[in-house]
Amino acid sequence: MATTETVTVGPLNLDLPRFAGGMKWIGVFGVIGVIGTGITLAGAFGGNQDAWFSYQAAFAFWTATAVGGLILLAAHHAANAKWPTAIRRPMEAVAGAMPVMLVLGIPLLLPNALSAIYPWYHPEKFDAELLHHFHGHKELYLAPGVYYVRQAIYWVVFLLATEVILSWSKKLDEVGGHEFIRKTRSFSAGMLPFIILAVTWAGFDWLMSLTPFWQSTIFGAYYGAGGFLAAIAIVTIACLATRSDRSMFGYWMTKHHQHNLGKLLLAFVSFWAYIGFSQLLLVWIGNLPEEVPYYWIRLKTGWLPMSTFLIFGHFALPFVLLVPRTVKLMPRLLMAIAIWVLFVCMVDVYWMVLPALHEDGPHYSLYNFTAFLGVGGIAAAFAIFRLRGRYLVPVKDPYLVDSLQYLQPH
């Protein structure tokens, strides 16, 4: 039952109900999530490597997306931005999936998973030359005990940042005023460096170490950039999908906010391409035996079509489409582009993970799909569930008025 409470902020009398719906979507996503995750994990524990790698890719993708949402939220707070106030809730929702991501990540910490996925878990299988390279720093760094300690650190950072920001957001809904905004701004600014370091090293651990003799200093930024872009895409989709319901954030999104979401998509599609290009160019032109295998597998085998697809699908196409202002202002088209961007971000993580298993080219399996849909379904269901009982617009935020009267320059 919706409880209607009139909230007064300045001249605004927003008689918005607290969110009591979403059960249909929680049900749909939950069922997809449980079935998908169930099938994938059943296959994985049954000894199927495709299932383990798919699960690892899906986990890495959706966690990066939740972290991306957290960075988006924290960065807007840190920059004292007022314009996104009306559409802040979907950013919080994306970040809010964080606790369930930890739970979903637990199977990947089990010895079965490490053994199936990471070559460094079995150094005894390396030949003499590789073993020689492995001895020393890498052996120490990639020892399972040290690996677990690092995972604990990442999750403390992610969960602390998310839960503190979300709990203050809840308090703000109750008491209003400037105090919680001030605290959130300072806390967000202070946490951002730690979140970014944590996601960088998580990228090294989860994805880069799949190829234990390959390394790239920009890898963490590449991984983080993909998750950040996916988070913007989800926020855009969520806002556009809820345009007609007055109690939802989408209704309060003006065309000026929508334009900004389109611009953010454009900017971070370009940023992803910039980071990806930097890495590719420097590895390709250097042509060093210890660096080049990563791209050799992706460019000289059956993986080439997917690599080419990423250049066009992840960059060229959305870039060209998002440049004109008119496109960013067309809700349906922007929605289609955001869904596409979310999809290509998934393909990107798949492309980072699966070549470590199949060096000759893609071997598509059912698990590829069940894993992404399963982990994503549970994350989405949990994120929507957490919104229940909240106002979907920060009704007592003192900057809601500023956000609603925000205008693009003319």
């Binding site: 605004l12 400037h178 202070g190 790239s216 000026h256 609603l404 003319h410």
Partner: protein, 479 residues
Amino acid sequence: MATEHAHAAAADPLAGVPVLLGNHTDETLTDTLFGHVWRKPGFGWYALFGLALAGFGLFVLAIAVTLYKGIGAWGNNIPVGWAFGIINFVWWIGIGHAGTLISAILLLFQQKWRTSINRFAEAMTIFAVIQALVFPVIHTGRPWYAAYFLFPYPSTNSIWPQFKSPLMWDVFAVSTYFTISLLFWFMGLIPDLASLRDRSKGKLQKIVYGILSLGWRGSGKHWHNWKVAYLIMAGISTPLVLSVHSVVSFDFAVALLPGWHATIFPPYFVAGAVFSGFAMVVTWIVPARRFLGLKDVITMRHLENMNKIILVTGLIVSYGYLMEHFIAWYSGNEYEWSVFVNRATGPYAGVYWLMITCNVVTPNLFWFKKIRTSIPAMWILSILVNIGMWCERFIIIVTSLHRGFVPSTWEMYYPTWVDFTLFAGTIGFFSTLFLLFMRFLPAVATAEVKEARHEMEIGHVHHHPGLMKAGLPEGHAAH
């Protein structure tokens, strides 16, 4: 309406100092912001200008010695075939980046505070790029032949530039950068030049400013075209913020030298460039706002925001250092790791630790609002950043070159007096151009500040779709 807005601002306890102080009208703004162009400069300006000219003299001297004696007058040797020349080139190019960032990216981000400082920073970009270009051109040895090496025209001698070399890419990147920055800066100046033409008393001034203002009459059509062109220029400049220093970073990163070949180089160089650029703006703007009487227009809000950008970009630079060091260690590549050990403990360790102090440690003081808003603190910290960023280029270039893979090739590098003189000379030349700029052109984009003032005073009288949804009549600014 104006008072309503004033109340709203006062009611926001988290709002900082406004971007415009005092009760200004268009007229008082014209007088304040053009004042330094009309006033006869005081003793201070002449003293500084004399000092800068003396520095420019050093510039001429160093170039004369270099041309007379050849590049042998510099401390370059084998293996350090590339030292002060490229260090100073990268340093100056980096300093220019604040201007491009402010003109382009902050405009697209709708950061209104940029209007008070963009002119200043854009001028800095142009003057800094001029200094940067001196080094590679002189380093060709015989600059009058530089065209053979640098510009791709079909030579009768079949000498073509090496298109696979990032140095070649640099020629395109930097020349595009210079051209666009100059056009952007000049376009922004046109309305102000027209005001100067109309308001100046001297005949010569009227003629010169008249020619430069290209027949600007301030009609609606002029403003419309100007606005469209300005936005297009901002769009063109935005990729330049990233591309120029990315290409500069390729100069090093495409090589296979330990310490250079790192994929993080492009974004980390860009961040370093913006870091040093903003530091240089703070270094100059702190005294300039005082001596040119611009405190109402360049307020603590501007200074604090710039310091925040210095903090953020400083953290990105630190992130770059961390990635380089970590991956060098993690890779287990002895050559890579030994470069980093050598940087921290070798013969140039002093420079390395100065770099770490100035770029990683001291910028973190800007976390504290008290320091961010303290004029002496920010001025000192900004100078430290410029020192730190110079040290960074020294460390990257010299330490990677001076100890190669085989110890028999190891050699120390020591700059000569000509190296130091040329570097000091570019600082003199830069200061000369800057002081002339502050003497003859408005240091603040006056037309844009006036526009910003009108917006603040009159408020929004547009449709507010968000407020209409909340049941408020359209056009009502809610406060």
